[in-house]
């Protein structure tokens, strides 16, 4: 793993709470985390420990109350809502736990959404989306609607959607929670083989211990803090294709 001067993610003493008075919940109690570009970091921990809040802050969806969080040196809190929305659109990709594929759009149309949001011409968006679907070996199902695809295929469409606009950072929330063991492994293998690159960082929130082996590092959270950061080397045979 190459170490660059510019960090993909740098969080310093990030704090975030929800609610007020007696209902106030301190979700993040001072998180410190540094992620190198090209790294695949998994954030693990029990439910309610602050994993989703942390990736929401890192992805610029939530503002932290205190502390600093930079993504590729950009302070997303400081640049204002409009610029933050644009930054998300251009530089961050998402794979959601519920996938959130629009049921009335075909696989190809779903994948093209991030490009259309960024103002790319529809014709070019379709061409690039077809390429992205080819990367996840699903181009033959490009005209299928999500309801016509299996869980693993839907997950691959979601991955294609996350990488189609070539973001620097891809944030995945429980990407394998709805998949069986074998399909989950295939998806993670795909993530390492196709999605991860020197210029692209992956941040994965998961409960699924069966996929830990795919991480470069694992950040274990508890009660709003990162309590352990371990190095876990990838155990994937890079010479094999993603779905062999």
């Amino acid at each position: 793993m190459a170490t660059n001067e510019v960090l993909a993610v740098r969080c310093r003493d990030v704090k975030k709470s929800f609610g007020q008075g007696s209902a106030r919940v301190q979700a993040l109690r001072g998180v410190n985390l540094e992620i190198q570009p090209g790294e695949l970091v998994m954030i693990v921990g029990p439910s309610g420990c602050g994993k989703t809040t942390l990736i929401s802050v890192i992805a610029g969806i939530l503002d932290q109350d205190e502390g600093e969080c930079r993504v590729y040196s950009e302070d997303l809190k400081g640049i204002g809502p409009r610029a933050r929305t644009q930054y998300r659109g251009r530089h961050i990709g998402f794979v959601f736990q519920a996938l959130n594929l629009v049921p009335t759009l075909s696989a190809l149309e779903n994948v093209s959404v991030p490009l259309l949001i960024n103002g790319i011409h529809p014709r070019e968006a379709i061409a690039r989306s077809t390429e992205a679907l080819a990367k996840v070996e699903l181009v033959e199902r490009k005209d299928s609607f999500p309801g016509e695809l299996s869980g693993g295929q839907q997950q691959r469409v979601a991955i294609a959607r996350a990488l189609v606009h070539e973001p620097k950072l891809i944030v995945c929330d429980e990407p394998t929670s709805a998949l069986d063991h074998e399909t989950g492994r295939k998806v993670m293998k795909l993530m390492r083989d196709v999605v991860l690159s020197e210029d692209r960082t992956l941040l994965v929130v998961t409960h699924d211990a069966r996929i830990f082996e795919f991480a470069d590092r694992i950040a274990r959270m508890d009660d709003g803090r990162i309590v352990e950061l371990t190095v876990a080397g990838p155990k994937v045979d890079q010479s094999k294709g993603a779905f062999q």
Binding site: L62, T85, G89, Q97, T104
Partner: protein, 388 residues
């Protein structure tokens, strides 16, 4: 993203169909009810619009509408001729007389008595179905409107249960015990009372009419070239003490009277309001559900970098799209209704203002129905997408 918004809407066939149906019914009912109402109001001024050669109508100041006859002295039209700016002025008799039909039954008719020498006020030659306007100069001549001749004044069947024969040229009527010979049949704009209309000369009409001291109903006048008819009306009022109106002023006076004194505006108004409310309710409920079901995806778009403005534009576009389809379909069906009812007793007027008004109403429904959804989109928190 425009195409994405359209696909999301149209591929949700059940909801888009429901929204379009709601707006179609609103559009259809608003247009159809208003068209009938305008048709009825148009009939109240049918005689004024058919009498389009003069610029001015002069009458007793207490006249409230076209059928409210308060006779003047026969010599009043000569006074009007003397007013500066008047090119010509002619007398017009308008009244209702009983016609005795061939089978001995009676039918109340409107009778218009036109200036003997000029026949000003007669139907346009283009509207003559049989005969000529000049034939009124024949002894006892009357011109009968086509609908009246075919229905209320028609001749009895030759054998029991057979069809009635429309009145034709040469047929004879009795008007107040006076002989009247049909010399022509003409088309007219149907009137509010739906009674047959007979045209004849002024002198003959006053012969038909019961003897009264005053028989002149209106004076029809024309302004000289370059003279403003509205200003001339004011001058006539000042000079003679009579009421004088331009064609449009007299139409407004008549419509205003009927609006105030019959229940139709209230009844039609209620129908239009109910159509608006039902259309708005269906559209709002369905569109609100549509947005609610798509909120997760809109949140996903927001997380992926779509601005609130873009999502608002998508939502408004979806509303306007169903609005346009619903409006077009509703107006189309209403137009079809108008075409089918053409030539029947049903009053139906479809001016462009009605089209614009219905479009405005449907647009308002669209705005109202999207307000709830727009609010949801604006306050949408993209962090919701991380909830499973």
């Amino acid at each position: 993203m425009i195409s994405v918004a359209i696909k999301m809407l149209l591929r949700d066939r059940r909801k888009s169909f429901l929204m379009i149906v709601g707006l179609t019914f609103a559009s259809l009912l608003i247009t159809q009810q208003m068209a009938i109402f305008l048709g009825i109001m148009g009939r109240t001024i049918g005689f004024i619009t058919d009498t389009n050669l003069p610029d001015l109508w002069v009458m007793d100041p207490k006249v409230k509408f076209i059928d409210d006859i308060k006779p003047l002295q026969d010599t009043e039209f000569l006074r009007i001729r003397g007013v500066e700016g008047v090119a010509w002025a002619v007398p017009l008799y308008k009244g209702t007389l009983r016609a005795r039909l061939e089978d001995g039954s009676f039918q109340v008719c409107n009778v218009a008595g036109l200036d003997d020498s000029t026949l000003i006020g007669s139907p346009s030659p283009l509207r003559m179905v049989q005969g000529r306007v000049e034939d009124l100069r024949h002894t006892d001549g009357v011109i009968v409107d086509e609908a009246g001749a075919a229905t209320k004044l028609s001749r009895p069947p030759r054998k029991p249960g057979g069809p009635r024969t429309p009145l034709g040229i040469g047929d004879v009527l009795e008007l107040n015990d006076h002989r009247a010979v049909v010399v022509g049949i003409c088309k007219i704009t149907r009137t509010f009372q739906s009674q047959p209309l007979l045209y004849t000369t002024y002198s003959r009409a006053t012969t038909f009419a019961p003897r009264e001291r005053k028989l002149l109903s209106f004076v029809l006048a024309k302004a000289k070239p370059g003279v403003d008819p509205a200003k001339l009306c004011a001058r006539i009022r000042g000079t003679t003490g009579l009421a004088a109106y331009t064609n449009s002023q007299f139409s407004d006076l008549t419509i205003g009277y009927f609006m105030r004194n019959i229940q139709a505006p209230i009844n039609f108004g209620i129908s239009v309001l109910l159509s608006f409310i039902v259309g708005a309710a269906i559209a709002t409920q369905t569109f609100s559900n549509f947005t609610l079901e798509n909120l997760r995806y809109l949140g996903t778009f927001k997380a992926m970098g779509a601005s609130s403005g873009l999502l608002l534009r998508m939502t408004v576009l979806q509303t306007l799209l169903v609005g346009a389809v619903g409006f077009g379909t509703g107006v189309g069906v209403a137009s079809l209704f108008g075409v089918v009812s053409k030539g029947t007793e049903l009053a139906f007027q479809f001016p462009w203002q009605l089209l614009a008004g219905t479009a405005g109403a449907i647009f308002l429904i669209c705005i109202l129905s999207s307000l709830v959804s727009l609010r949801r989109v604006v306050v949408l928190e993209p962090a919701m997408v991380f909830k499973s």
